[in-house]
Amino acid sequence: MSFALLVAACSGSKTTTSGSTADSTSKEASSTDKATHKQGGTVTIANTQGQTWTCQFNPFNPGVNTVSLGFVYEPLVFVNLLQDQKETPMLATSYQWGDGKKSIVFTIRDGVKWNDGHPFGAEDVAYTFNLMKQVPATDLYALWTGAGLNSVTASGKQVTMTFNQAAEPYFFNFANQVGIVPKHVFSTGAAAAHPDTWADPKPVGTGPFTVDPCTPNNIQYKANPSYWQPGKPYIQKVEYPAYLDNGPANLDLANGKAQWGSQFIPNIKQFYLSKSKDNHTWSPPVTNVALFPNLDPSHPATSKLAVRQAIASAIDRNQISLIGEGGQQPPANQTGIVVPTFQKYYDQAAVAAAGYDKPNVEKAKTLLASAGYSPSNPLKLTVISITGYTDWDASLAVIKQQLKPIGIELTVSDLAQQTFDDRLYNGNFDLAYYGEPGGPTPYYELRQILYSKNSAPIGKPASFNYERYNNPEVDKLFDDYPTADAAGQVEIIKKVGAAMLRDIPIIPTTESVNWFQYNTADIAGWPTENDPYAQPAAFNVPDVEHVLLHIYSKSAQ
């Protein structure tokens, strides 16, 4: 066993993230730096739930893990997708990949206690992951199936995971998104009988807060006195009311009753920003919203490249962003690379060379004419969207206006969510307006959109590739990504971007954001555009932990 580890250590790639020294090139504070502020203060979150709280905190329950992960439960390593996957060691102080990145050894942090006093150790980590194998309902990230996880073993202060394929693309999931649970709680009683449906009303975690108390209207979190970072968290109380609708939540944000907002506020300047000089907003972009054309030959118009090129040339993304999204979602670009978040993968020159850096109505008219359509013989297309997404409706209204002069008559069809999903997945549309979940690099979103295995024949549900794009060359690029080195991965993504410019499989319009509003009257230390130390929305887990570890009350200093 130790010989194998020795071999792995010699031949594998070593990445050590040490505890308290941040990346030498960044001057921003890391969440595990020493405490620099006094403790005290309360922060109130305004994040519309649509339901009252069930007061369940099981991190395996997908309905409630946004209120337990980050607040109470912590992952092994925090990966910040806003800072090029910058890592902050949490329950693991370092890790080391094995040969071909098919195995990884984590060194578990010393001196951590569960909030009920029991000591935390490597066996808790192993227990958490092995639980997912035992009870597949808890394997929310398909680690034992999709990621190819083979085994997880604990020995002393180390946890070893082995996979049957190169596992680096899954690091974000198993290291950053899985909340480690206590073996001594989950192996007894009701939790052991049904770990997936257990309510977990008084969650035992290693994180900075405990739940005390929870009522249907509000979750109150109190600082964990035995948290492993001394002097932290600075904020001592977090209030998380259960807003059922955006209206009351936005009102409370505007008048300062809540300081941390995470939803779309229409007309934000007038409604929120102008109410106080302490009201601010910064919503970082993370994925694309796009027109998904149906590439299947059964749809003769949208399956023609010239038609798609015409649409991509005619639309003015700046206008869509300004009018449709009130400027709160930045314009997207035709490569599908979200900027400025993933700037290093973006080839601006290629976009300009392809002619998609600004709208070109004349070129669009010519392209459409070559397909046989013109203002006198217009192409009639329907785009499906979801009822209630008023900003998407506004964007589509702008797009409709922009396509009319070139000879496309667009009809917007709003459908109930479930009806929309049905038609989207089964390929029953001309155009659909939608976005993918994305991930920590453009690889995830682009693979979701373009990988042929994510598609399905018309009439059968596709998991992500709704437009039915099928290009073996692009598939191969995605297959090569997991084993490529960092520079190689950037090259691969740039090549995929080039395919987006050449084949126009989808037409990105705006960039989807994590909505974030914050009030600085009493609370400082928020993530900002200049210091994006974590994704800022209250529903971004586990990033929420890092916002909670940075913010402090000015009046308590």
């Binding site: 649509g50 339901q51 009252t52 069930t54 369940q56 099981n58 395996f60 329950n61 997908p62 309905g63 409630v64 597949p136 309902a137 808890t138 394997d139 929310l140 990230y141 398909a142 199936t145 999709g146 049904h194 997936d196 449906t197 309510a199 108390p213 009522t215 249907p216 209207n217 509000n218 109150q220 209030e239 009311p241 259960a242 807003y243 209206g247 009351p248 009102l251 409370d252 008048n255 109930a416 969510q417 479930q418 009806t419 999903d421 049905d422 993918e436 979940p437 998991s463 992500f464």
Partner: protein
């Protein structure tokens, strides 16, 4: 006795019809609880895990539909209402109902009684002094208010009485979320404060009907001879 039995039978029939419709409609709609859960988790989680999670909570869509239906009827009448597989995933259904019921009864029940009492009183006065100023002014006003939709009046009240007054009356929640429910006077007072605008909304929209009904019902008897006699006698 026969009357009671007939009514009881009618009730059972209606209950059965309602339960059956409630069983079939969600199954006939597009989509499924699995799809809804995937949407709520933004498609970021493994569909297989989500499907198994729902199965753990009792969602068995592939079971024979007749077996499902009979199980469902049995569970409904014996009170085994199961667990929510919707947005409140994992919450026992009885708890969902139990939490909402007192507030619904309290708000709507009290407001309706208030609307009835106040409305009838105003209607009586308007009817007694028919042709007077009150009678000329109130009924048309209340015909209009009774046609206003609840939610619109509610939004208007929030704007006028909460936003424009700088928060004099609360704009959301049934009690201050920072408070813990208790049987103290302070908590009760807080609940009543939060009830003013919602109850006001219901009263304003419902009162019109009662006023007009009471007034019109009074007009006819008031023209009767025996009333004229009473008036003549003083």
């Amino acid at each position: 006795m026969r009357f009671v039995l007939r009514r009881l039978g009618f009730f059972v029939l209606t209950l059965w019809a309602a339960l059956t419709v409630n069983f079939f409609i969600p199954r006939l709609m597009p989509g499924s609880p699995l799809q809804a859960l995937r949407d709520r988790t933004h498609n970021k989680l493994s569909p297989a895990a989500l499907e198994q999670m729902l199965t753990s909570y009792g969602f068995k869509p592939n079971q024979n539909v007749v077996v499902q239906y009979l199980d469902y009827l049995q569970n409904m009448v014996t009170g085994h209402w199961g667990v929510s597989i919707g947005a409140t995933l994992g919450e026992p259904v009885t708890r969902v109902v139990r939490q909402a019921l007192p507030w619904t009864l309290g708000l709507v029940g009290t407001a309706t009684i208030l609307a009835f009492a106040l409305g009838s009183l105003i209607g009586i006065v308007a009817g007694w002094k028919r042709g007077g100023r009150l009678d000329a002014l109130l009924p048309p006003v209340f015909v209009v208010t009774s046609a206003l939709p609840y939610f619109w009046v509610g939004l208007l009240f929030i704007l006028v009485f909460s936003v424009w007054t700088g928060g004099l009356l609360p704009s959301d929640f049934n009690y201050d979320p920072h408070l813990q429910p208790s049987l103290s006077l302070g908590f009760a007072g807080n609940v009543l404060l939060h009830a003013v605008l919602p109850a006001g909304t219901i009263v304003v929209t419902a009162i019109g009907g009662w006023i007009l009904t009471m007034r019109n019902n009074m007009i006819t008897p008031l023209a009767e001879d025996y009333v004229r006699m009473g008036r003549a006698k003083g």
